[in-house]
């Protein structure tokens, strides 16, 4: 967290890019300078008294020059207020926070698996993996075609719960047969999505003996390790819990109990 800053950042744009899903772009050369894929920012949706008390965490979806991009679902007051931000307004951002995906591990193929808005960290990761000349296969699952987000991803395989586009079923059901039928060399899974999906994936990875890193969500107050509010149970000896905000949000599935 050496690059962590707290800044009022200028909003570049905020657009609805899929159903209730927004792409927020804001300027921060400090954050883009140090951010790594998988890290997140903690954003104040409104000034004191004009919105929720606490900041809201969002994965860094992509960096583009000085611009940081976030993808988010408008599900409550905080995200609703953020979705109304317009060019030229400012937002108070704390970041980059947390640990990044460990991209420099030993593998040939990066298997990205995302459920819904869990796709958020992967454009950034993809850009990094491309630089490292890794093969990338991306599996994204959505409720329906209206929610699909695929920009800045590579070799995309789509599943929808209602079958309105791509594979009819969930993303793990799409992913597993692919694993079986494809020669991937040494593979590593990078995943983000609902806990039930991450659980299924983690078991699959264990069965297939593939290294799997996931990005977790958790209810956070501070996002920086001050409050101890975001535990996730660890495997192994040592302390029982890790903190999602500081020790994560990226974890090897073998290190935590989902």
């Amino acid at each position: 967290m050496c690059g962590m800053v707290q800044q009022l950042c200028k909003v570049e744009s905020c657009d609805e890019v899929a159903a209730k899903t927004f792409l927020l772009r804001f300027a921060s050369s400090e954050i883009t300078a140090s951010a790594q894929p998988g890290q997140f920012v903690n954003v104040l949706a409104a000034e004191a008294g004009e919105g929720p008390l606490l900041r809201r965490p969002f994965s860094i979806a992509r960096v583009d020059g000085d611009i940081v991009e976030l993808f988010f679902h408008a599900i409550g007051t905080g995200t609703l207020l953020l979705s109304r931000k317009r060019h030229g307004e400012t937002i108070d951002v704390l970041g980059p926070l947390g640990q990044s995906f460990r991209v420099d591990a030993d593998y040939d193929t990066a298997l990205i698996v995302a459920g819904g808005i869990g796709v958020a960290p992967f454009p950034f990761l993809t850009a990094d993996l491309l630089k490292r000349c890794k093969r990338i296969e991306t599996f994204v699952g959505y409720r329906n075609a209206g929610q699909i987000l695929t920009s800045h991803l590579q070799n995309i395989h789509i599943a929808t719960d209602d079958g309105s586009k791509g594979f009819h079923g969930n993303v793990v059901q799409l992913f597993e047969p692919f694993l079986d039928r494809t020669d991937l060399g040494k593979a590593k899974i990078f995943a983000c999505g609902p806990t039930v999906m991450l659980k299924a994936l983690s078991e699959l990875a264990k069965r297939k003996n593939i290294c799997c890193e996931v990005s977790l969500e958790g209810h956070m107050a501070c996002g920086v390790g001050l409050c101890q509010g975001c535990p996730v149970e660890r495997t192994g000896d040592g302390s029982k819990y890790a903190l999602v905000c500081k020790d994560g949000p990226i974890f090897l599935t073998t290190d935590i109990i989902l």
């Binding site: 104040l44 008390l53 606490l54 920086v224 101890q228 509010g229 149970e233 500081k246």
Partner: protein, 321 residues
């Protein structure tokens, strides 16, 4: 600019011979061990840091979910997750004692003996300005009843710790009692040098989809701006009933809020939940107090303490709610 203000306005105060450079502190459990945000926050601008509560052994804390946001506040059920006093001494204190601010370890325990053990171990260390005692802990011997809601136990803890140290002893009172001033008077009589008022209010939230409590422990502690009026009333009640200084804490979010607490009788304030919203808020509040003092020709911040102009002729009416 702040340097030139500093020269003119007395912001410091003294407690049992220890000088604190100003009246703004960060509250226990809301600033970690001071190192998490060291790059962001110039802690040398603060009166001091109250550490996360320390117990004898490390505590893993409660299972998730530990945090629930509420209207202008939050519930927490951290379960006093902490690294334990030994690790604190080895890993955190060496860094902390080099900081240009006062370090006040906060002690939590589940038995009288544990309070004493932790304090005795800390007594052997350098760089500790004072102790804050969190009595909002379950007394395991008494089936988990909270020490802090039992006036005689609170007094007993105070008396026992008083015997063990000559350093400043601050007892942190819980608001979840009928007459907090009784507790304040008791700990004053048992030798406490100051009290911190308040810890969190007991609260609860339910997830109507799962029909489960949102917190793994069913209830938790409510903090943040929502509780500021309650905290202020408790500080006022305590300050009126004891002579020892009061650290005011609860929902403080601005220099104006801090001034309310000083006027109500707090000698100094602690910033808790708002550190999560804005990690540098305590420094902003310290600056804000100095700006206020300058604008109002106040030469010593101490003149604000208890300077409330309250007309008490209606005080009986207060209980008509």
């Amino acid at each position: 600019m702040t340097a030139s203000i500093k020269n003119k306005i007395k912001t410091s105060f003294t407690l049992r011979g220890i000088e604190f450079k100003n009246r703004v502190f960060v509250a226990s459990g809301t600033f970690g061990y001071g190192d998490e945000v060291r790059k962001l926050v110039d802690v040398s601008r603060l009166g001091g840091i109250f550490t996360k509560s320390l117990s004898w052994k490390p505590r893993a804390g409660n299972p998730p979910q530990r945090i629930v946001e509420t209207a202008s506040g939050m519930l927490n059920s951290i379960g006093l997750a902490n690294i334990g006093v030994h690790t604190f001494i080895e890993q955190k204190l060496p860094y902390l004692r080099k900081l240009d601010t006062r370090i006040i370890p906060n002690i939590a325990a589940s038995s009288l003996q544990e309070y004493c053990d932790v304090l005795e171990l800390l007594e052997e260390q350098e760089g500790i300005a004072a102790y804050e005692i969190n009595v909002s802990c379950p007394n395991v011997k008494e089936g988990g009843l909270n020490f802090g809601t039992d006036c005689s136990m609170t007094g007993k803890i105070t008396a026992s710790l008083r015997k063990l140290t000559n350093k400043t002893l601050i007892i942190k009172l819980t608001p979840n009692v009928t007459h907090i001033s009784e507790f304040a008077r008791t700990v004053e009589a048992e030798g406490a040098d100051a009290v911190s008022v308040i810890n969190t209010l007991i609260g609860m939230a339910i997830d109507i989809k799962t029909r489960k409590p949102k917190l793994s422990t069913v209830t938790g502690g409510l903090s943040g701006p929502a509780i500021k009026p309650v905290a202020l009333a408790k500080v006022y009640e305590v300050a009126k009933s004891v002579k020892i200084p009061v650290f005011g804490v609860g929902g403080i979010a601005s220099a104006e809020d801090a001034i309310e607490f000083l006027l109500a009788g707090a000698t100094a304030v602690q910033i808790g939940t708002m550190n999560f919203v804005d990690p540098v808020i305590s420094v902003k509040i310290a600056d804000g107090l100095e700006i206020y003092a300058r604008e109002h020709g106040i030469l010593d911040m101490g003149t604000l303490v208890g300077a409330l102009d309250a007309d008490l002729k209606f005080s009986v009416l207060q209980s008509w709610l």
